[in-house]
């Protein structure tokens, strides 16, 4: 069976205002098998999110091939759900409406969409918050709504762009466990972007490391041999976790420093 996502020799370039081009990503080769949880880790500004946008079909590569379940991707990736880093909920819709909208656009009748949305809100622990508008929810609650909004459509592929980045450490752990919980129910292919190596190892089956930009490329690929089901908080105390973390960090360290130098330490 074909891989859920297959990037081969993908280059990404952006046109700059002064007429030049900025090479963001160079010769990226990446496959995500069906049911596999892959995390991309890299220093700030290395083009991790760019690769995700390529897989989502939001931007087109300058060169190379993008395949989704074996067929070339030429428009928006209809098989994928995307959880964004920034707030992406519709501020003028309640939590329930936000979750239901993904079904309504797919032609599901409003009543049924609402009923299923309610189930999903309960599943992410927000059963009694359906009537709230996004601004009345905390950052973590908004992410839960976002997760329900994406998963209710039952996409075959889940793309996640530092979804828990803005959250505090405790909430991140809780959200991580929630994600693993939901994912283990029907094992979608996941491409998860993060700058947090610990989070990447704790969640994924495979960790992909990218070099610092510009023209960043994939420099490493590690399998995570930790057993599932996992608990994010506990697995971080595991010996195997430490060994793997040390190994990957050796490769990542120089790139992180390079990345910081280029972005002015920001």
């Amino acid at each position: 069976m074909a891989a859920a996502i297959g990037l081969s020799n993908v280059d990404v370039a952006f046109h700059l205002a002064d007429g030049g081009t900025f090479r963001a990503v160079e010769a990226a080769n990446l496959t995500v098998e069906d049911g596999e949880f892959v995390a991309i880790v890299g220093p700030t500004g290395c083009g991790k999110s760019t690769l995700l946008n390529i897989a989502a079909g939001l931007i087109a590569p300058a060169a190379g091939k993008v395949a989704v379940f074996g067929s070339a991707l030429s428009a928006l990736n209809r098989q994928a759900g995307y959880l964004f880093q920034a707030d992406a909920l519709f501020p003028w819709k309640t939590a329930l409406e936000n979750v239901a909208i993904g079904l309504e656009t797919a032609g599901v009748a409003r009543e049924e969409a609402r009923t299923r949305a309610k189930t999903w809100l309960t599943r992410v622990g927000l059963g009694s918050f359906g009537g709230r508008y996004p601004h009345m929810l905390s950052g973590g609650q908004r992410k839960r709504v976002g997760l329900a909004q994406v998963l209710i459509r039952d996409p075959k592929i889940l793309l996640m762009d530092e979804p828990f980045g803005p959250l505090d450490a405790q909430t991140r752990q809780i959200m991580g466990n929630l994600l693993l919980d939901l994912w283990s129910a029907d094992r979608k292919a996941v491409l998860f972007v993060t700058h947090d190596l610990e989070e990447a190892i704790a969640l994924s089956d495979r960790v992909v490391i990218m070099s610092a930009g510009p023209a960043s490329h994939i420099i490493g690929n590690w399998r995570v041999p930790l057993a599932r089901p996992r608990d994010i908080a506990e697995i971080k105390l595991d010996q195997a976790f430490h060994a793997l973390h040390r190994e990957i960090w050796q490769a990542l360290k120089d790139e992180v420093i390079k990345g910081y130098m280029q972005t002015g330490g920001g």
Binding site: R78, D87, W92, H135
Partner: protein, 262 residues
Amino acid sequence: MPRTNLIVLQILVAVVAVGLWYLLSTYRVFGYMLLPPFFFSNPVDVAKQIVEWFASGVIWKHLWVTLIESILAFVSGSIGGVLVGFWFALQPRTAAVFDPYVKMVNSLPRVVLAPIFTLWLGLGIWSKVALGFTLVFFIVFFNVYQGVKEVSPTVLANARMLGMNKRQLMRHVYWPSAMSWMFSSLHTSVGFAVVGAVVGEYLGAAAGLGYLIQQADGVFDAAGVFAGMFVLAAFVLVIDAAVSVVERRLLVWRPAPSEARP
């Protein structure tokens, strides 16, 4: 500050202001009349005039005319502003072509259009509606244009990933965003609709609050002018309160300013 205290202080301001006005327009200070009654009238005469207007019932006709003109100007200006705002925001090329003319018309003091509208549309309500329209239209137009342009790119990308087509994007993303911008300027645009109506009446009409003030002005009836101003102020306050109620209903999804404070 507790609410009752606030209201007491607010009333106090009015009492002091009216008291000063009464004293300075009735008694001489060091031999000088600081507020000569000919120019400033006095609160008692003004109150008498207002009571007389309401007692005889003449005022209702004028209030009604001004209200109708304001509503028509607001509604037509809003519809026009929404349509053109959407059109320009979704067709950047059209917007670029018309840009200098939009700026030109918008920078024109709209009062100068009043004589033209009177010439075209006569002394009835339509010349006032037209003047109000030109004021309301631009406020709504700029806000809708901004609202469509300023949709968060993340929200837009999310909407597309959730499978929305063009029509659904319009309904679930662009429209609510544009409406939120338009509603946030509701007080301004409603206020301008009233300004258009009253200024239009002042410059030539047969009825309306502006006409009433202009009539009093023409015979140096200071009490009449002030009475007209107070009725107009009360009229605007009532309309503004109505707008606030509507706004609260329509923008429930927006954080209240006080909640945004750290």
